[in-house]
Symmetry: C2
Subunit: 416 residues, 2 copies
């Protein structure tokens, strides 16, 4: 993989050049992209040109942009034949923010159809024959395959944290609206959240810092051992034995390194919010994609068409009640953090499922998308077969750096 | 003006036909549109065709759509030369919702540049020589001139309630996200709100009911006299003497008709939110229009370019602090409603200012946009010169029908 911080340090020290970085990327693309298929649209030449003499903290380094983000210089297909070859007029806000910070867009990464569940063709570089997860499949795969230093994704249920976990890389779904969704094809206005993938947690923090103008780096300060609340129950499903075992081992190592450990159970109020997430997502999806339903219904996959039909059939009163449950949970979620800095739990139920027929489930993710708290995927753990087992760190709203610092601390233990 | 409820009743009773309605609209357009210039794009033939045999509660009646909403069959220029002739691929969600309800889109109504302050060419049908207000200038004017039965607008500060007031018509800015903003060119994700204009409050309620599937009508039930809190201070400016006098007279009539009247003052917490509105709008605007700033800066008006430059220069910490002020105010605003159903105050500082050089100010509007509570513009009052003096009814979040019912009750007094 291409570590953003490592490459920046080597560029700084004159131990590599931006030309050499792109030569390496070109080789990696030649070797791996025909198999991985991370990109819906690729422009190596354009990225090289943009990178030449690029300033800013990101020095021209290549990034990937999920194909639900608008780009003014590349088509934006949203993973749907309805938008084949569609050319927006403006970049999504975060794309402009990244370009201002010196990033060069290598291409548009493959997304599931409108970032819902219908799988795309992308393969998992870290687990051949297993799903890369979704919906930000191409972004996670492009980072995992060493094609880009960072990539944008979106999460409406688990579409950033899950693919990061399955591909063995880091990611952050920041606090709600820390990154603007302007220029992202909407699915759910209450849930859609822009996130970021990179090789390590510290790389994610660097990228997020560079594009947002917020001080979020975790590579220059020692934040010490966090107080960790391990969430062992309350979700709608259990983790696999391998995942539960991996979390236990990580927690033991954390305790041995001085972390205070508690067990935290989701309160009934918060767990109730987890359960109503799909209703909100489907209700809003049916309105966000109302035009596509009415005019291009035959071009929608069955799994999406059925979800939108459920959304369209949902009573407004049920939606309003669900929003109220979400609102209450947002107010009460602080109680979970009373004696801990962060929560720790699986990022996915287990290792990536075999085959490409499903991108997996969002069991451990969707609640935090609904609540709006930052969540960070921590790579480094694997099962007996060597398949990635990602865990996840969650902090209170607005405490993105706390989440990143704890995740960075845990990542070193996971890899150690 | 074309009253939606009146036309529906006449269609029901066979006293008019949809063909006759469009003949009338055609005459009105011939007579008035060359002077009023409400439309950026007009398609009378297309609307007639769509209306023929249209079902749904709206029976093919013509509506206007502000030109910051995407439409799949009409160009969407967002009030900026940057988007001249721009043709989106999908309708904004509310446009599809209106079409499903049987509305026919007569055209795209003129907006100020990206719905900010730079005036457009539209004239005020109710006050020749005076601004129609903005940013939803064309939507308000098209309703006021009797060209459409309803129109969509957006409000980020005062862009729905102010033009309604200046043009002597009704409007509602519903609770935050009651109507989706999907397919609306964004300016501020925290503030952008879709609203609706019509000839009367009851017409607005009918239209909103028809498109949203919520029961919001106020023409079929007698809601009785509301308990009214009159807001007399706490805003950043005072109303004109004519406006203050008009409010006083309306309040006296309301009391005489059995309304309980109290005086309510904005608390310090709530007034603080009013003051930080511009900071949030400018900060988010600079990110929402980041691509346009970087690539088409010379095509922006001075007033917009300056606002975006202020936004870009705003420290992230100041923005975060402002969001926190807004958050606190949202939690505390309920205190204002402790003994009243609704709040009543001016919709604008006074009658529409003379000339077309400014669209007026959002002094009495921006707070409620930030708080997310429903606000309804009540027409019917005029000053000594016959110029419109709109007042405004505000209800707690989610109580849109309470706001509409009280506004409807007050409208009858205002007109009486």
């Amino acid at each position: 993989m291409l570590s953003l911080l490592d490459l920046l340090a080597r560029l700084d020290a004159g131990r590599t050049s931006i030309e050499a970085v792109y030569d390496g990327v070109a080789s990696t693309l030649d070797e791996r992209e025909p198999d991985i298929r991370a990109f819906a649209h690729l422009d190596l030449g354009g990225a090289r040109t943009a990178a030449t003499g690029a300033g800013g903290p990101l020095r021209g380094l290549p990034i990937g942009v999920k194909d639900v983000f608008d780009t003014a210089d590349m088509p934006s297909g949203y993973g749907s034949p309805i938008y084949d070859g569609w050319q927006p007029r403006a970049d999504a806000s975060v794309v402009t923010m990244a370009r201002r910070a010196g990033a060069a867009v290598l291409g548009k990464t493959r997304t599931t159809e409108f970032a819902y569940l219908n799988p795309t063709v992308t393969r998992n570089p870290a687990a051949p024959g297993h799903t890369p997860g979704g919906s930000s499949s191409g972004s996670a795969a492009a980072v995992a395959a060493g094609m880009v230093t960072a990539a944008f994704g979106t999460q409406t249920a688990g579409s950033v944290i899950r693919p990061a976990s399955f591909c063995g890389i880091a990611a952050i779904k920041p606090s709600y609206r820390l990154l603007p969704t302007v220029g992202v094809k909407p699915f759910s206005w209450l849930l859609d959240t822009v996130g970021v993938f990179a090789a390590s947690v510290a790389d994610c923090a660097m990228f997020l810092s560079a594009i947002s103008g917020r001080e979020l780096r975790v590579d220059v300060t020692d934040f010490g051992a966090p107080r960790i609340g391990v969430v062992r129950s309350g979700f709608s499903a259990e983790p696999s034995a391998a995942m539960a075992g991996a979390v236990d081992r990580l927690v033991r190592r954390a305790a041995a390194k001085g972390a205070e450990i508690r067990t935290v159970d989701l309160s009934g109020t918060v767990a109730a919010a987890d359960r109503i997430h799909p209703l909100i997502m489907e209700y809003e999806g049916a309105l966000a994609l109302a035009h596509e339903r009415d005019h291009h219904g035959a071009a929608l996959s069955a799994v999406l068409a059925e979800a939108l039909a459920r959304g369209a059939a949902t009573e407004t009163a049920a939606y309003d009640a669900a929003r109220s449950v979400a609102h209450t949970a947002r107010r009460r979620v602080g109680e979970l953090f009373e004696n801990v800095d962060v929560l720790l739990m699986p990022a996915a139920p287990g290792a990536p499922p075999e085959g490409l027929g499903s991108t997996g489930v969002a069991t451990f993710n969707r609640l935090w998308t609904l609540i709006g708290t930052p969540a960070v995927a921590v790579p480094g753990l694997v099962d007996e077969a060597g398949l990635p087992l990602g865990v996840q760190v969650v902090a209170p709203f607005g405490q993105d750096r706390v989440a990143l610092a704890a995740a960075n601390w845990l990542e070193r233990l996971a890899r150690g």
